[in-house]
């Protein structure tokens, strides 16, 4: 792998991990959405770069879809949803921000420890991409664990999916069917989410999952 191509791929993939960290750090809803848009943008660049160095032109499609849906449309839609529903603009975080970020660092360490020994035969680029992708996936999971607000759950999930796309792009020659389906599923997910958020707003006073959780079997009817 020649130096510069590798360096840029490394920088972009690592950048995604860093932006995932920034997602953990946010305490305001709009900032969270904006950082998610940034996350997707870095993903687009990373996938686009992979397309260039692998000469896999179908990856450009993936990058394009990610750009349009994840970096532009979804953040815009989420902004509108938040504004229209009048959701609380500040987020409640389980545990402190510092503690969460420490846990996040532990997760990144875990991802690296898990991924590097098992991929000794894969090529360097795929290997590194995979380690970063797993880190992004785990950080997305963690974001979903520590935030109870529905919008941030959705964002956590989508950042997790960004990690998956990164992994798919890093796997050399992975067929297109999967990538389109990922992008497509995001679209469907958006519809479902949008529908859900609106309905949830109709029926409940908040989209806070905690409020929904208090409603459980036994207290019913």
């Amino acid at each position: 792998m020649h130096g510069l191509a590798f360096d840029i791929a490394h920088l972009l993939a690592g950048g995604m991990v860093v932006v995932s960290f920034l997602l953990l750090y946010q305490v305001r809803l709009f900032a969270l959405i904006n950082v998610f848009a940034l996350h997707s943008l870095v993903l687009v660049l990373a996938v686009g770069w992979q397309a260039t160095i692998q000469e896999a032109h179908h990856l450009y499609v993936t990058a394009g879809i990610a750009l349009i849906f994840k970096a532009i449309l979804i953040p815009t839609a989420l902004h509108r949803i938040v504004r229209r529903l009048g959701i609380h603009r500040t987020l409640e975080v389980v545990g402190g921000v510092g503690l969460n970020m420490l846990a996040g660092a532990a997760l990144v360490a875990l991802a690296i420890l898990v991924m590097l020994p098992v991929t000794t035969t894969a090529d360097v680029l795929a290997r590194e991409d995979l380690a970063f992708a797993l880190a992004v996936v785990l950080l997305g999971l963690w974001l979903m664990v520590i935030r109870h607000n529905a919008v941030s759950l959705v964002i956590g999930f989508m950042s997790l999916e960004n990690g998956l796309v990164l992994a798919a792009a890093g796997a050399r020659g992975m067929p297109l069917a999967v990538e389109i389906s990922i992008a497509f599923s995001v679209l469907i997910a958006l519809i479902v989410i949008g529908v859900f958020l609106f309905r949830i707003r109709e029926r409940f006073d908040s989209v806070d999952m905690q409020a929904m959780d208090s409603f459980r079997e036994g207290r019913r009817r």
């Binding site: 490394h10 991990v17 990144v108």
Partner: protein, 318 residues
């Protein structure tokens, strides 16, 4: 003869940082004022202030002990040495083997320790608040700084600043996430350590928020002058640190011709001017954060440093 030249160059560097420090502070103030559409003082104003303070009588509180009087000298000495050790216009100078990142962190730490003690010594409430806040900031900034040191030394294989700077000039460094993270974390630490805007405001005496100013409130005359000078030196130190690690271009190596040294000085001045400008720009565009948010800010710096060290293991596996 060579030895004398070496001493000379090293001495030049020590004098250079001492002389440049107030200018840098003044430069930042001027830029800030102009960004706010004020005319602002001349960049030379800090020199006049210092001279004025030196001429004035130093007043001491009744409750002040010897520590209070000694502290300014200690702080000034520690910071001057630290600032003079960081490679500025040339790397590999005579004392460069002492210019170890950990040593610099230790010097900064002891300066801070004495400053906090002095703040407590007089027994006023402001001093106490300032000291306790300073310690809170330090307890997060120092680990973050150490993480950065860790990242850099893992990368370069040494903690010696000159060697790091020379390593950064080689092509094998490449673009690395870890470096970007270290840069970001170092900037955050620098902002906190120098009591700049989102963490502390050097230009106010508002009791709710002030940290650094609260500790030095009781000082006057030559003591205050020394502390102000030390603060300027600290700012210079951090900018030189950023410059020599992340933009080492133009720096001369010891033993080169005088023209190389001159180019080095010019490059150094350029870096400082740029750094000061960016700092002023940043400070005017952002609001001061609540004291309670400072730990999150520095926690983030710590995490970035940690992440940088972690990600290093990915790229090292190549």
């Amino acid at each position: 003869m060579a030895l004398i030249t070496d001493y000379l160059v090293q001495g030049c560097q020590m004098l250079l940082v001492l002389l440049l420090a107030p200018l840098l502070t003044g430069w930042v103030r001027t830029i800030k004022a102009q960004l706010l559409r004020r005319r602002g003082p001349s960049p030379l104003q800090p020199y006049r202030d210092l001279l004025k303070l030196l001429r004035k009588e130093a007043l001491l509180a009744d409750s002040a002990s010897w520590l209070f009087r000694v502290a300014p000298y200690l702080i000034f000495a520690a910071l001057w040495v630290a600032a003079a050790l960081v490679p500025t216009f040339a790397s590999g100078l005579l004392f460069s083997w002492t210019a170890d990142l950990i040593a610099i962190v230790a010097l900064l730490g002891s300066a801070r320790f004495f400053l906090a003690l002095a703040g407590l010594d007089v027994g006023t409430s402001f001093g106490g608040i300032g000291s306790s806040r300073e310690m809170m900031i330090a307890s997060l900034a120092e680990p973050a700084m150490l993480m950065i040191v860790f990242t850099l030394s893992l990368l370069a294989g040494t903690t010696e600043l000159s060697a790091i700077a020379q390593f950064m000039l080689t092509a094998e460094v490449g673009l690395r996430v870890s470096l970007a993270l270290a840069l970001l974390a170092l900037i955050m630490v620098a902002i906190a350590e120098n009591a700049r805007i989102p963490v502390d405001n050097p230009a106010t005496h508002l009791e709710l928020t002030m940290v650094h100013e609260a500790m030095v409130l009781e000082y006057s005359g030559r003591h205050l002058a020394l502390i102000e000078l030390a603060a300027s030196l600290k700012l210079l130190l951090y900018l030189s640190l950023l410059g020599c690690i992340f933009i080492p271009w133009g720096m001369a190596t010891a033993g080169e011709s005088w023209t190389a040294y001159l180019i080095g000085v010019a490059a150094y001045l350029g870096k400082l001017a740029l750094g000061g400008f960016l700092l002023a720009l940043f400070e005017t565009s952002i609001a001061k954060m609540r004291v309670f948010r400072v730990d999150q800010f520095l926690g983030a710096a710590l995490m970035l440093g940690l992440l940088g060290a972690l990600l290093l293991f990915v790229s090292r596996s190549r």
